[in-house]
Amino acid sequence: MSDAANGMGEPVPGSLRAGKRRVFIAGARRRVAVHIIERLLAEPDVEAILAVDRGACPPALLGCDPERFVFASADLSRRRQVDNLFLLDRFRSTPFDTVLHMAFAGSPHGYNFKSHEFNVNTAQHLLQAALRHGVGKYIFLSSDAVYRLGPRGDYKVREDSELNLDPTGHPILRDTLDAEFICRAKMDEPGSEIMVLRPSGVFGGGVISGINLLFESNPPMLPVGFDPMVNPTTKERLARDLILAIFLHGKGVYNVAGQTVGPLSKFLEERGIKPMRVPGPALKLFNRAQRALGMTRYHAGFHPSRLYYSLVLDDDKFERVFRSSAHKVRALARTSDGPMP
């Protein structure tokens, strides 16, 4: 367990970070966060976790070992509250070495200026606090919605593909990009590795992601004549990818996606779901009616191109740097799903 270093004295991407992890997880009420906390707590190389969110601790985490797990309710958009978390007695002598930022008001329902403030301020305060307190790794879980979608799309979208900077886009997309840019502006900061992960749509019971909400709709509504290619990931795979990001050296922007690529209709078919096809121009109207009737939580207006044009993330870079080094992470080497191929 030693840090490998390149000629510049910087750790080699994909090498194991030394010592035990002390992780700050923002946005702990998210389903993916709960899953990753459970997995991290099963790992002896994780010394302590501070999970933070607004509201109460998720029931699934109530029985966790209090020696290693602390839940705190705080408003991360307030700078003072963020600082206070980093100065908790418990973590003052042995500070955090990793911050995982997943606190994002990403639901288009009831989105307002407060949500915008929360998204942008949280990203700013959390990153600044992490840098001030010498945190070695900062990971922001972004979204694949940041990419520009259209008929001119590439068959695989790489990290350097065109971003959706359309000013008429949904404000949540702008918030996501703002938060990413805040991270990217500090990416060359010495002593801290800042990572932005852009996951493809995430499947999993109760996960609030576009594709999951679409699949949980009754029935999912799709535009007639379109069948985009997608490569969604799962809650479990995303958790593994985040664990790799926590345990291994590396910084920069990375796509993370599922292994299977295929037309959206095939993924539905595989799960025995029969979608309803409606004319494209009427899709939003039908979606609104479905939402009013409680038949879906999917919001067709959030990322309208999503159901028309392919979005297949190319995660070769993450594969090369992180997944190929999965065997170095004990937590993954030991579990039944083993190192990733």
Binding site: R152, D154, Y155, S161, M229, T260, V261, K266, G280
Partner: protein, 286 residues
């Protein structure tokens, strides 16, 4: 979404052609398609249609298949004409029929196709993807034959008086071929110019409908959509020897222009030879 009835498709093709469809394999990425979205079943339907047009409607005569690489990447470059792109369909069907194992030419397609319901999905399902650099790179990396019409879609709307005059070639194909060290195979296609007689291009209407041209032919719009049906003229396709592009096209604009001119001349030469072949055939010398 597109669920072809394979029994019906099977009935449309003779056994040896069906075997070709079955011999064409894709690299499945999990859901029965390749990374570009190609679906063998839909490809079978497209080939059944292409075969019928190739064999019976346009009665294609082609030469020079030995110049097409049996494996590995290549950029197939030729002339474009005929109001509707039947030339692309026939060239693709011709390559598929005459290569062993069968090879699929994947064109760099104009973006507007993917905005049209069903059409975009169909094009993607038969392995035709939008013309971006990343898509070209991906196809070449995976060892595919990429089809490019460097005159662009505007060449389809050439007037009858300009037939077989090549428009200026865009430079992208030589640059991309040089970047990957892929050979450029020039081809000339004779016959497509005669399938329609384009007498005028109404540019204001083309702009209004966001089309590269709005054709007025001897039959369209007078006979409605039926007027767009091509005449059953015989096609003559010739593939020239592969050209190796000078890697210096990536460094110098002069070299790039010279290489583009070389490809254009090679295409023009194949058209000239195609004309000669047609003349000889019509006069009973072959």
């Amino acid at each position: 979404m597109l669920r072809p009835n394979m029994k019906f498709v099977r009935a449309l093709l003779p056994d040896r052609e069906w075997d070709r469809v079955e011999a064409y394999s894709i690299r499945d990425v999990g859901m029965g398609t390749d990374a570009f979205g190609t679906r063998p079943q839909v490809l079978g339907v497209a080939y059944a249609l292409g075969y019928w047009l190739h064999r019976y409607y346009f009665r294609v005569v082609s030469q020079g298949h030995e110049n097409l690489p049996a494996s590995g990447p290549g950029v197939v470059v030729g002339n474009h004409s005929g109001v509707l792109p039947f030339d692309a369909i026939l060239m693709s069907a011709d390559v598929f029929r005459n290569t062993e194992p069968p090879r699929l030419v994947r064109y760099m397609v104009d973006y507007f196709v993917y905005k049209v319901p069903f059409l975009g999905t169909f094009f993607r399902s038969v392995g035709q993807i939008s013309g971006t650099r990343a898509n070209f790179d991906g196809l070449i990396r995976e060892g595919h034959l990429v089809g490019i019409f460097p005159e662009g879609a505007a060449a389809l709307g050439k007037l009858a008086v300009d037939k077989y005059d090549l428009l200026p070639f865009s430079h992208g194909h030589v640059e991309l071929a040089a970047r990957h060290g892929a050979p450029v195979i020039p081809f000339g296609l004779v016959g497509a110019e005669e399938q329609q007689t384009m007498v005028a291009d109404i540019k204001p209407l083309a702009r209004a409908f966001r089309m590269p041209y709005f054709p007025v032919t001897t039959t369209f719009p007078w006979l409605g959509p039926l007027g767009l049906l091509p005449r059953p003229v015989r096609y003559y396709i010739r593939y020239g020897e592969p050209l190796t592009i000078d890697p210096d096209v990536l460094k110098s604009i002069e070299v790039r222009e010279r290489e583009v001119a070389r490809v254009r001349e090679a295409v023009a030469e194949q058209i000239r030879l195609g004309h000669q072949h047609r003349k000889d055939s019509e006069e009973g010398r072959v």
